[in-house]
Amino acid sequence: MNDNAITLLEAVNLALARAMADDPDVVLLGEDIGTNGGVFRATAGLQERFGERRVIDTPLAETMIAGLSVGMATQGMRPVAEIQFMGFIFPAFEHLVAHAARMRARTRGRLSCPMVLRAPFGGGIHAPEHHSESTEALLAHIPGLRVVIPSSPARAYGLLLAAIRCDDPVIFLEPKRIYRASKTLIEDNGQALPLDTCFTLREGSDITLISWGAMISETLDAADRLAAEGVSCEVIDVATLNPIDHATLVASVSKTGRCVIIHEAPRHGGMGAEIAATLGEQARAALLAPPCRVTGHDTLMPYYRNEQLYLPDTDDIVTAVKATMEYVE
């Protein structure tokens, strides 16, 4: 059973079940996560298995979900809270920024806040307004939070386990567009993946493609297409946006001399800017072309009719790579 090929969504479920079985202090809370198993079914079956005391349907109030989690975590529990869609995370912000991120520093280690806040994010599923945004940059800018985004079933399993075991507060953003995109064989061995490293998904020598979340799919597609045209792309999944592993990115770009950074979120002030700026600072000598950003535009994610126009696609990436390859000073 456990060794079947599973989706990213199922990997989330598997990691949650594993963490709950391992540690009685792990408790899930959120809207519709119990009998309903979550609107995406990420928590399906968990209330049946672990009971209503450990898989808790909350009243409808995100501020409360975050605030309760902070309180529970100060007492050494490991709450794993779900925000139904990232578009509804804003009421939780005060507790995340003013408390979760600060509890350890504020008490100089007397208390801590080992909570996880999970939320599906990103566009591409034809959902209503507010169900398709990518605002990871807002959270990644907050010192004290960890922001983690898986892009495959295996990384969902390993990173979520790591997030739950981590003694710091972790925002765990799940790219819902690829919740069911592919299946991988996952061994339910309880093995966590590191939260302090990028993942190099594909080695290459001409250019580094840097992305995270659902856009990893288009990025890998682009790398395939470009390989056919003789461009060797290194593909890196940043995975943890804060604290970020700049070293891996700098090393890769120092090797390839070129890079394209891809994300769904708006360009202005997005995490692509941070990566481009850091590469400019730390890999300047090696750079043969400016780091290029392929991103969502600085307008709203449109309602579903036009969402494909908003989302960067494989063509956009290929075009950017070619322009970057052709760049001469």
Binding site: E31, D32, G34, T35, N36, G37, V39, D57, P59, L60, A61, E62, T63, M64, G87, F88, F90, P91, G124, H126, A127, P128, E129, H130, H131, E218, R267, H268, H297, D298, T299, L300, P302, Y303, Y304, R305, N306, E307, Q308, L309, Y310, L311, D313, T314, D315, D316
Partner: protein
């Protein structure tokens, strides 16, 4: 040593029992043909719209849609009791209210069809568009009411929220400021007993949701939300008080969500067929029809004629909807700010090029 420093109570208003029979002597105002026949006709229209919207969704012609099944009386009576200059601040389940207040049906479909222009109809006047983030509309309603009050316009604002939404801080902050400032606003809870899969009992241990008004020092009351006559009475009076500067009201309308939460939901996962069956016995549409039949205001012939007329009306609107031209790509850029800033204008150029590529069938996304 103890003394009592406050006493409060909540009353429940009902006129008809489940079968549409009067629960006692009916007041005079309830006995004519109007507005009840009109209400009934609008409720039928609402239900037909709903059925149609779901079938459009099932056939890929509409996006995720939130059904109003079971809330027809609430929507129709609230909208009908409002004056044109009153302001509606809806949540995502008030299609019939919007229709009655003048939004063309094709526009409603356009919204649910994933096109922002659905909220741009000039007929919507100063009414707010749908609020998707739960409970936020309650504060907007207070803001609109503040504007009306500061401008000394004697109009009312009406806003609707679900039972689940009453747990969110926005709702309670709104009640509080509405009381503190004596705002001309009526809050209507469509207590349809479920917030997606979470039953009313898990939201709050209090026996009524209306009593949330007490903490804010405002009037709160319950009404049978399947009873158009009771709604007419309670909502009408609340709007009147608001317009007269007599302060806000919280109305908890007891209903039942007869549908799935939205077309993306499957309610059989979390609630019993028995419960649903029992709720159908309280169906607001059938109840009013029975009452009208009893009163001699309605009969089978009128029913069939109206069903047919409504059907035509809806079909015509669907045709309009399907014929609406696609949204120009520029719209995504031109309405964000009053004027499009330079960087965004550059991105607009890129988007035009991308759309051209998509239209030429260039490899898109997926």
């Amino acid at each position: 040593m103890h003394e009592i420093s406050y006493r409060g109570e909540i009353r429940l208003t009902r006129y008809l029992d489940e079968s549409g029979a009067p629960l006692g002597d009916m007041p005079d105002w309830a006995c004519g043909e109007q507005p009840w026949v009109h209400y009934y006709q609008q409720m039928v229209l609402a239900r037909q719209f709903d059925t149609k919207a779901i079938s459009l969704q099932r056939t890929g012609q509409l996006g995720t849609y939130a059904s109003l099944l079971g809330a027809e009386a609430i929507d129709v009576v609230c909208a009908s009791r409002m004056q044109t200059e009153d302001v509606l601040v809806p949540y995502y389940r008030n299609h019939a209210m919007q229709m009655i207040r003048g939004t063309p049906i094709a526009r409603l479909l356009q919204y649910w069809g994933g096109d922002e222009r659905g909220s741009s109809a000039p007929e919507m006047q100063h009414d707010l568009p749908n609020a998707v983030p739960i409970a936020t509309q309650c504060l907007h309603a207070c803001g609109v009411a503040t504007a009306l009050k500061l401008r000394q316009q004697h109009q009312a604002v009406l806003t609707v929220i679900g039972d689940g939404g009453t747990s969110k801080g926005d709702f309670m902050e709104a009640l509080n400021v509405a009381g503190a400032w004596q705002l001309p606003v009526v809050f209507v809870i469509n207590n349809n007993q479920w917030a997606i899969s979470v039953p009313r009992s898990k939201q709050c241990i209090a026996p009524t949701l209306a009593q949330k008004a007490l903490g804010a020092g405002i009037r709160g009351e319950q009404v049978d939300g399947n009873d158009a006559i009771a709604l007419h009475d309670v909502v009408g009076q609340a709007l009147e008080r608001a317009r007269a500067g007599k302060g806000p009201t919280l109305i908890e309308a007891l209903s039942y969500r007869l549908s799935d939460h939205t077309t993306a939901d499957d309610a059989t996962r979390y609630r019993s067929a028995d419960e649903l069956k029992a709720a159908w016995a309280r169906d607001p549409v059938a109840r009013l029809r029975h009452w009208l039949h009893q009163q001699g205001h309605w009969d089978e012939a009128r029913e069939q004629a109206w069903q047919a007329e409504t059907k035509q009306l809806i079909e015509a609107a669907v045709a309009d909807y399907l014929a609406l031209p696609a949204q120009p790509v520029d719209d995504l850029y031109d309405h964000l700010y009053a004027e499009c800033p330079p960087t965004l204008a550059v991105q607009r150029e890129q988007a035009r090029a991308k759309q051209a590529r998509h239209e030429q069938g260039g490899s898109g996304h997926e």
